[in-house]
């Protein structure tokens, strides 16, 4: 399961100035203003494609492994984050929502990353339902339909020389993680979120780089998650992987690194016939094999992943060394290749290093 909220919260704790550290667990602000993630409120689609403004954190997260006509690879990420900040609720200018978008595009040699921030209710960022739209300034995700994110067109301009436009088409069902979308992040269940994915995406479109147009296509992975629950103390960060295997299977693996206990592993395997299998400490093995120095940090960029009962034993290798996103909350996010018992491609996210 993917846990961008946790990522951001961890990063917020570890990388922000002390003055901006979150209040402790028992802070009154923490608990009373935000909606809770509970089993009593099940995840329902298509309603839950929309924003959940009462929850503290939310994101719509797209990653894609694209290729042009001559086999040149591109790694694309588009994410819209929503934060709720009750201290802002009395403003006449904006509401208590803050929107943040990240766009990252890699080819073998270059990396473009941009971040946009905006306050809610001003009119230049948000999520609408008819049609379903996610937007910040001129970055637009526009669905053909109301209330549902796909099929859609995504257009982003990073500078005069870098633009892309892609069609996003689904080729399978949405996957609800955990217990019908109620997703636990830690062994004690304190940390949790509502979380679902659409791993069967196909993207096709154009990337304009320095005046040259590349027709690209490839598989994409979409996550939507929302939560109000902060990290417990002792969590250092996590490593997350999404894999598109060549046999049609999809796999998500997640490793939460803890201070005083072993890392907590979880994941989801979607077999080619569409069966969804929950993975846990017993069924999933995830081991870092090689480290590299990236942005003055020592990061594990080569991994071994095993799902014993399904005879999956693969090596995950980063597409290129520096896939660092330097935003308000910096993290490592980039494409990987899969080899071993299965082959394929995917994405990797590393936080808290």
């Amino acid at each position: 399961m993917k846990n961008h909220a946790v990522i951001l919260l961890c990063l917020f704790m570890f990388s922000c100035k002390p003055a901006d550290s979150p209040p402790p667990e028992n802070s009154p602000i923490r608990s009373y203003d935000y909606a809770q993630v509970t089993l009593n409120r099940p995840l329902q689609l298509p309603q839950d494609h929309a924003a959940h403004p009462d929850y503290r954190l939310e994101w719509w997260y797209l990653t894609a492994n694209l290729e042009n006509e001559s086999g040149q690879l591109f790694a694309l990420q588009f994410t819209l984050f929503r934060f709720r900040n009750p201290t802002q609720r009395n403003s006449n200018w904006s509401d208590d929502q803050i929107w943040m978008a990240h766009v990252s595009l890699h080819n073998r040699d270059e990396h473009w990353f941009e971040q946009r921030l905006a306050r809610g209710a001003v009119g230049n960022a948000g999520q609408t339902q008819n049609p379903f739209t996610l937007f910040v300034d001129d970055w637009n995700w526009v669905s053909d339909l109301p209330e549902t994110p796909f099929p859609a067109t995504l257009t982003v301009t990073l500078s005069d020389s870098v633009k892309f436009r892609a069609r996003l088409i689904t080729q399978g069902n949405y996957i609800l993680h955990g217990n019908s979308g109620y997703s636990e992040k830690s062994a004690n269940g304190k940390l949790r979120s509502y979380y679902y994915s659409q791993p069967f995406l196909q993207l096709s479109g154009q990337i304009n780089l320095h005046g040259q147009t590349h027709q690209v296509n490839g598989p994409g992975w979409y996550d939507h998650e929302w939560t109000s629950h902060l990290m417990q103390a002792g969590a250092n960060g996590w490593d997350w992987f999404s894999l598109h295997l060549d046999n049609g299977a999809k796999l998500m693996a997640f490793r939460m690194r803890m201070d005083d206990t072993n890392a907590h592993l979880s994941g989801t395997l979607i077999t080619p016939d569409g069966t969804v299998l929950k993975l846990d400490q017993q069924s999933l093995q995830l081991t870092p094999k090689e480290f590299e120095q990236v942005n003055n940090k020592r990061l594990p960029t080569r991994w071994r992943l095993k799902v014993v009962e399904k005879d999956i034993d693969v090596e995950l290798v980063r597409f290129k060394k520096n896939q660092w996103n330097e935003g308000v909350y910096p993290y490592y996010e980039g494409a990987i290749s899969v080899s071993g018992s299965h082959s394929g491609q995917g994405f990797m996210e590393l936080t808290g290093y």
């Binding site: 917020f12 900040n85 006449n92 200018w93 803050i98 921030l117 009119g123 300034d137 001129d138």
Partner: protein
């Protein structure tokens, strides 16, 4: 390569000279880069962009600028826009109800500002910290942690002191925090949308096409932003660094010429043994590159160490002179290394081109090239440089172009010196009678020597011209400052009080208050100072045109006088109107009666009648005090003890002394840099002399054989080089004065917007020249003293 190494052992001094010069140049450049980086951190570009943006979208007056307009433009792709409001209403202290006048409030959409690590202000989506307003430390002291309200009694957030990068008397806050309670966009419409990054032509056009009719794109008429002082300081540092580099380049070229001259014989032998010209010239080039890269690495390390050592002192200078901090940022040595290596490799490749070509010609027996074309080339280059220098001087309208004109003037001066030196020497030789055979020989051989030591002389010339220029400039500034202080500090005492002095002074004591406030003129912040309606004050202000101020009209507030800085920034002159908005929202528009000098002030300033600024004055209480019969100094101090408790009394002499001491401290670094540059040029000259001594030993042996004593010979050699230095110095004088003029009337004019008269103290000038020549002669004593008294009858080597 092995031969090159062996040759280095035989003539190590040329390699040492190259090494030392590159170490000095590299360390200088690294220091300049680190200091500017540390200074830049205090003047972040994005601050300048949104506090005083170059471009703004504003209402054209028909309809207000709305939040919807803002969202529409950002959705259209103009993400460099950030909405802001200039609150111009009054501010009140919540508990006392009084007004901290002179404060302005800027509310900006901080989420829209370009983000980079350690940018200001910090925007953190997950922060649950309550809203804040930020202010400069001095402004924060005015507020003293009291809560503020706007005019509808709506409270403002808690004050947080920022880094010293905000303008004084300005409060900054997020726009979402501003529009709370009764503050709405209807009541306080948006002032504008600041363009927070550069806006190229094409983007300007696209934005204009998109704007609805009630909005317009406006360009600020101010030329600079709050970062002017920082830009000027950075520019000055870079100028000094580049000057040092130019001198070092001359030294390197000189050393390379000497090196190749001494190796030519060996290289010819190698050629005869069958080693190709390309191989030989490539080996020399590679040797120079290796030397250069090694030296630049050492220079880089030295530069880092020196900057670290000097950081506290640099910070002190920044704090005292520029009112900001210097912070040495984390150093990335690999990044610095790659920059210095790249620069060194580029420079060495460029400057070795001509000497290597000459070497190749020598090795292939084509000879060094005819003399006449080289002279023609020099004449042509000098004419071109002189024309370019003249043109850029006339057309320079910015500090960068002014520096370019200075560089061209220096190079043109070098060309003129090289052209005229032989003629001067010939003229001089004619005046030395042949009846003084040794002196006659000294001068006659100096002409020959001048050709061999051209590059060393050029380095000395440039260093001396810069020395003269800087010395006269600093001295002119000193004299101008001193006379200005003498004129302006007219009262025997000055009082800085924490509160207004309301108690009437006793007989014999008179107080004149000086009010201060600030205003906005064409988007630019202006200091306002009152000038009492008293002839003593009026005559203390040095105004141009003289007699142009109609003092009666000044006293009624119809006229004001402005400082040079304001006049130059906005091309204002006497008779122009000066519309300004005061902090309390009122507008005034006095007519400019004259322009006064205000040396050292980076800000624009207006002197006007106190009544114009009474309502918007700063809570700053300054008084000029006279006392006389029947009051004594004791009476004055006693009265002040209860009339102005906590006040500080300044003796005007002490004030003048303090000001001049500050002045001297400011120019300490410049003086040191001058000496270093001169010393480096001297080092180059010395090593040239030492190396050429080996070549000229045949002539010296001959003179010894003819009965000239060793002492006289050494004196003759000193006369030779002394003559070269003297003529270089004589020619450096006019160019040094020209350089001074350029520094004042172009660089200072466009960087700081004020000028002062060039004042040449001939004694100081002679002192500078004689000191430089003296230093050179002292330096030259070393190789002269080492002249070999031994004679070699069979001096058969011919180069």
């Amino acid at each position: 390569m092995l031969t090159c190494v062996a040759l280095n052992r035989k003539h190590p001094w040329t390699s040492i000279l190259v090494f030392v010069a590159i170490v000095i140049a590299s360390s200088g450049l690294v220091m300049v880069h680190l200091i500017n980086q540390g200074a830049s951190e205090q003047w972040p570009d994005n601050n300048a962009a949104w506090i005083a943006p170059k471009w703004t979208v504003e209402s054209s007056g028909k309809l207000p600028l709305t939040r919807e307009d803002y969202a529409h433009l950002r959705r259209a792709g103009f993400h460099e826009l950030a909405a802001f409001v200039h609150y111009t209403g009054p501010l009140y202290f919540e508990h006392t109800g009084s007004t901290p006048s002179g404060l302005s409030l800027l509310a900006v959409d901080t989420a829209a500002l370009p983000w980079k690590p350690a940018s200001f202000p910090v925007f953190s989506p997950l922060s649950e910290k309550s809203a804040r307003i930020w202010a400069h430390p001095q402004t924060a002291r005015l507020i003293e942690e009291q809560s503020l309200l706007t005019d509808d009694a709506a409270p403002l957030p808690v004050l947080e002191v920022s880094a010293a990068s905000l303008p004084k008397h300005m409060l900054v806050m997020d726009i979402a925090d501003f529009f709370t309670a009764s503050r709405t966009t209807e009541k306080y419409p948006l002032t504008g949308l600041a363009v927070t990054s550069s806006l190229p032509e094409s983007r300007q056009r696209a934005l204009r096409n998109l704007l609805p009719t009630h909005l317009q794109l406006k360009r600020s008429s101010t030329i600079e932003s709050g970062g002017t002082l920082g830009d000027s300081f950075k520019l000055s540092l870079w100028a000094l660094g580049v000057l040092m580099m130019v001198v070092c380049m001359f030294i390197v070229v000189n050393a390379l010429h000497l090196m190749l001259r001494f190796r030519l014989y060996t290289l010819l032998k190698l050629r005869q043994l069958g080693i190709g010209v390309t191989t030989l010239s490539t080996s020399v080039t590679l040797e120079m590159l290796f030397l250069g890269l090694t030296a630049s690495s050492v220079g880089m390390v030295l530069g880092i160490l020196l900057t670290q050592q000097l950081a506290p002192g640099i910070n002190q200078t920044f704090t005292n002179v520029l009112e900001t901090k210097f912070i040495l940022l984390p150093i990335n040595p690999w990044q610095l290394m790659s920059i210095t290596w790249a620069a060194t490799a580029l420079v060495i490749t460029a400057i070795t081109y001509v000497p290597i070509r000459q070497l190749q010609r020598n090795l292939t027996g084509r000879g060094p090239g005819r003399q006449r074309p080289a002279d023609r080339w020099l004449k042509g280059a000098t004419v071109l440089l002189c024309s370019s220098a003249l043109l850029t001087t006339i057309l320079a309208k910015s500090p960068a172009w002014a520096l370019i004109s200075i560089a061209l003037t220096l190079l043109a001066g070098t060309g003129v010196m090289l052209l005229f030196m032989p003629h001067l020497l010939k003229l001089c030789a004619q005046f030395i009678p042949a009846g003084w055979p040794l002196a006659h020989w000294s001068i006659a051989s100096t002409l020959q020597l001048s050709k061999q030591t051209r590059l060393a002389v050029c380095a000395f010339f440039i260093a001396l011209t810069a020395n003269i220029g800087m010395t006269v400039m600093v001295d002119s500034f000193r004299q101008a400052t001193d006379s200005w202080l003498q004129a302006r500090i007219i009262a025997p005492f000055y009082l800085a009080a924490p509160l207004p002095v309301t108690e009437p002074p006793p007989a014999g004591i008179s107080l004149f208050e000086r009010l201060q406030a600030s205003a906005i003129h064409r988007g630019h912040s202006v200091e306002l100072r009152s000038l009492p309606a008293d002839s003593r004050f009026q005559s203390s202000v040095q105004i141009e045109p003289d007699g142009g101020v109609d003092w009666p009209r000044f006293d009624t507030g119809e006229q004001a006088v402005i400082n040079q800085q304001l006049a130059f920034r906005f091309h204002l002159s006497a008779g122009d109107s000066l519309p300004m908005q005061l902090n309390d929202g009122t507008h005034i528009s006095p007519v400019i009666g004259g322009i006064y000098v205000d040396y050292g002030n980076p800000n624009s300033q207006v002197l006007l009648n106190a009544r114009l600024i009474e309502s918007s004055r700063d809570p700053v209480y300054r008084y000029a005090i006279w006392y006389g019969t029947p009051a004594t100094l004791n009476d004055l101090t006693e009265w002040l003890n209860h009339a102005a408790p906590g006040g500080e009394l300044f003796d005007s002499e002490a004030l003048r002394k303090l000001s001049m001491e500050e002045f001297e401290r400011t120019f300490v670094v410049t003086n040191h840099l001058n000496i270093i540059t001169l010393a480096v040029a001297g080092l180059s000259f010395m090593i040239s002399v030492a190396l050429l001594g080996q070549q000229t030993s045949a002539q010296l042996s001959l003179l010894r054989s003819l009965g000239v004593s060793t002492l006289k010979l050494r004196l003759s050699v000193l006369i030779q080089y002394g003559t070269l230095c003297l003529f270089a110095a004589l020619m450096a004088m006019p160019f040094g004065l020209l350089l001074c003029w350029l520094l004042i009337n172009k660089v200072n004019r466009y960087a700081f917007h004020w000028i002062y008269p060039v004042s040449v103290d001939s004694a100081l000038l002679m002192q500078a020249i004689l000191t430089s020549i003296g230093i050179m002669l002292m330096v030259l004593c070393i190789p002269a003293a080492r002249l070999n008294g031994r004679l070699d009858l069979r001096n058969t080597r011919v180069l």
